[in-house]
């Protein structure tokens, strides 16, 4: 499918941290001018393959999406630029108020997913980091294990579980709790699917920051008369904040662009912004509008990430 604005790209597009690291690596501070040139050359050499990769597979598709977003649709040729004219009306259509409820719903799904992942992921990451011992790597492996199966297949599995005649209803029925529960086709099903799918993205950065935490800090806090709650809040949680920030970004952004989950677990009332974009490249037959919506979503995420990291991130990262 030739739909460029997938969640993956949105994710990649809004990942300034890696880009920043690259930039600092490429511009070495020069205490010893003699070596500066060769060091710089080395850095450039190291970044070469990455640069080529990102240019080809990140920048070029991005430019195409932006170029499409100012195009004119057609029946045979889906995007045209007659006479080289740029058609900005796609953006005013993309901002049409009729899409607003869908956009709000999408943000709500992503926010609920992020909160649920944080609530579920934090204790998990904490326990593995603090008490995992020799089992740490095995436990982490188990968290990554679902990635061995395609996301799509796992969503189909959830549908199998949640359907009218699915596993959940069968089990509840045999327990005498009724077997006619409507699980699919609900907002809850979508949030459940998204949370299940993106939980590892929350757990891994949380684990990374909790694992580095000095256990002595906790003892020190107790020694200084801090109770359990305030120790957790002021020591454990604060130290884990970089992980929380990263986890929130890694969960919220892909959840915002997802269109597979609502399609499989949702119904007619769970259309998301992502699925609306996808539709424009299929039955909606409006690639320019779809591209404009994708560009706006990316802009929204970029601004959001910028505000988020500058507000929250400054004292944390």
């Amino acid at each position: 499918m030739a739909a460029p604005p997938t969640s993956e790209e949105v994710t990649n597009g809004a990942e300034p941290p890696s880009g920043d690291e690259g930039a600092t690596g490429a511009a070495p501070v020069t205490p010893r001018p003699r070596h500066a040139r060769s060091e710089g050359a080395k850095a450039h050499g190291l970044l070469g393959p990455t640069t080529i990769w990102l240019t080809l597979f990140l920048l070029a598709p991005l430019v195409i999406v932006i170029w499409y977003s100012v195009g004119t649709r057609g029946v045979i040729n889906p995007v045209q630029h007659p006479g080289g004219k740029l058609n900005w009306s796609n953006f005013s259509r993309a901002l049409d108020p009729s899409f607003l409820p869908i956009f709000i719903r999408t943000v709500a799904y992503a926010a609920a997913t992020t909160v649920a992942s944080l609530i579920l992921g934090f204790p998990l990451a904490y326990v593995i980091a603090r008490f995992g011992g020799t089992w740490k790597n095995v436990l982490l492996g188990l968290i990554i294990l679902p990635f061995w199966t395609s996301y799509l297949v796992r969503m189909y599995a959830w549908r199998f579980i949640l359907d009218e005649n699915g596993l959940a209803n069968t089990v509840l029925g045999s327990l005498g709790l009724g077997r006619n529960h409507q699980f699919t086709n609900t907002h809850w099903a979508v949030v459940l699917g998204l949370t299940y799918g993106f939980l590892p993205f929350m757990v891994l950065p949380l684990y990374a920051s909790l694992e580095r935490m000095d256990a002595g800090l906790i003892e020190a806090a107790y020694d200084l008369g801090s109770n359990r709650f305030s120790t957790f809040w002021r020591i454990t949680f604060r130290t884990s904040l970089p992980g929380v920030v990263a986890g929130v970004l890694l969960t919220f952004i892909p959840a915002l662009g997802d269109f597979v989950t609502p399609q499989l677990l949702g119904g007619t009332r769970t259309q998301t912004f992502g699925s609306t974009i996808q539709d424009q490249f299929g039955q909606g037959q409006n690639w320019p509008l779809g591209s404009a919506m994708a560009v706006l979503l990316m802009a929204f995420i970029l601004v959001g990430v910028f505000v988020y990291t500058s507000r929250v991130g400054e004292d944390v990262l």
Binding site: R73, N185, Q280, Q285
Partner: protein, 374 residues
């Protein structure tokens, strides 16, 4: 020249009609093709179907899901020694978008009649050399003169069918004979209609007693309102209804005929009906995309599928109508005599094809977006 280049364009980054870019784009495209194609690239620009050099014994076949007999491909390989790579798609739009971009590497595709027209108009198909398909004489005459491709210049019909309703009478609580089946109380929240704009709008137009191919603004608006109201009653808008229909997740669905008979094989309760206020009929046809590397093998496959017994095996398996008249003696009696699989001529005369609507299709597409986002 320019025309040929357009057909193999990888991406339309530039205005395709601008000659300024064509040479450069051509080189880039060729570079891409060379890299992608590795072995056995035929002449640049897409060649012809005449197939001058010897072709590798390969065939890349791109077909709808669940739309082939288990014996079809092994039988072809056995008969010709040609190895087949078989991939699937699930919507004409996906297929069209891919073929439109070119460079897919597929030699054989199966678009529906209105998309065959669209692809011919867009110059996306190779012309067929019927001298290499002697079995074309086996086709039912109505498929030799079909309006979407009279004389089979570009397409050989694969299977045909209708778009009606699949349902479980027990769960629904009564027989269903029209689109009003969606209104039955037992069906609420347990039905679906197709995630295909033209199929959905055709259904709405039929239900409203209008021409299903109407492009009148008033009709489209009325159909849009009908679908928005219908959306509140159904569980899903989906083309992926076979499994739910089998398991009971859906008890009524707008569906393609053969799909429902495939479901029936595993869930005997499920029935198919052609709604009495009308439904679409359609034909899916084998076509060769422009620039295919194994057009000769594709012709061989077309000729092979038109063999009476091969065509009959296909129809017996997928339970759609066969366009192959010579195959009929070998088609199972249960399939042949089922008026829902192969409706008699007088019923067929009432069922319309989806007309290609040109620019007006975009009006329906917009109305569809409005339905989906309502």
């Amino acid at each position: 020249m320019t025309e040929e280049h357009d057909n193999v364009r990888v991406a339309f980054l530039w205005d395709p009609t601008s000659p300024r870019w064509s040479r450069r784009r051509f080189l880039q495209t060729m570079g891409f093709m060379a890299a992608a194609g590795a072995a056995g690239t035929s002449c640049g620009g897409g060649g012809g179907s005449s197939g001058s050099g010897p072709e590798a014994k390969r065939l890349n076949f791109y077909n709808w899901t669940d739309y082939i007999a288990e014996s079809t491909i092994p039988g072809f390989t056995k008969a010709t020694g040609i190895k087949v790579t078989y991939d699937n798609y699930s919507s004409n739009d996906d297929l069209f978008a891919k073929i439109r971009q070119g460079g897919t590497g597929y030699d054989l595709i199966v678009p529906t009649d209105n998309f065959v027209v669209k692809m011919i108009d867009g110059g996306l198909l190779e012309k067929l050399d019927l001298s290499k398909i002697p079995n074309v004489k086996n086709l039912d005459p109505r498929f030799r003169t079909a309006a979407f491709d009279p004389g089979n210049r570009y397409s050989i019909p694969w299977q045909w069918g209708t778009t009606g309703i699949g349902y479980d009478p027990d769960a629904v609580g009564s027989r269903v004979d029209d689109w009003t089946g969606f209104d039955l109380p037992a069906v609420k929240g347990r039905s679906s209609f197709l995630d295909e704009a033209r199929d959905a709008f055709g259904m709405a137009m039929y239900a409203l007693g209008k021409d299903p191919n109407s492009t009148a603004a008033g009709d489209i608006e009325a159909a849009r309102k009908y679908l928005i109201a219908l959306k509140k009653k159904v569980k899903q808008i989906t083309s992926d209804y076979q499994d739910p229909l089998k398991s009971g997740g859906l008890i009524l669905a707008q569906a393609y005929s053969g799909d429902v008979f495939q479901v029936q094989a595993e869930n005997k309760k499920v029935q198919y009906v052609i709604p009495k206020s009308g439904a679409f009929q359609w034909v899916d046809s084998l076509c060769i995309p422009k620039g295919a590397k194994h057009p000769g093998n594709a012709h061989k496959f077309m000729n092979y599928i038109l063999e009476p017994k091969v065509g009959a095996a296909l129809t017996n398996y997928v339970q759609y109508g066969t366009p192959n008249k010579a195959a009929l003696p070998f088609v199972d009696k249960a399939v042949k005599d089922n008026p829902l699989i192969m409706p008699p001529a007088d019923v067929l005369a009432e069922l319309k094809f989806q007309k290609p609507l040109g620019e007006a299709e975009l009006k329906i597409a917009d109305a569809w977006t409005s339905v989906k986002t309502s």
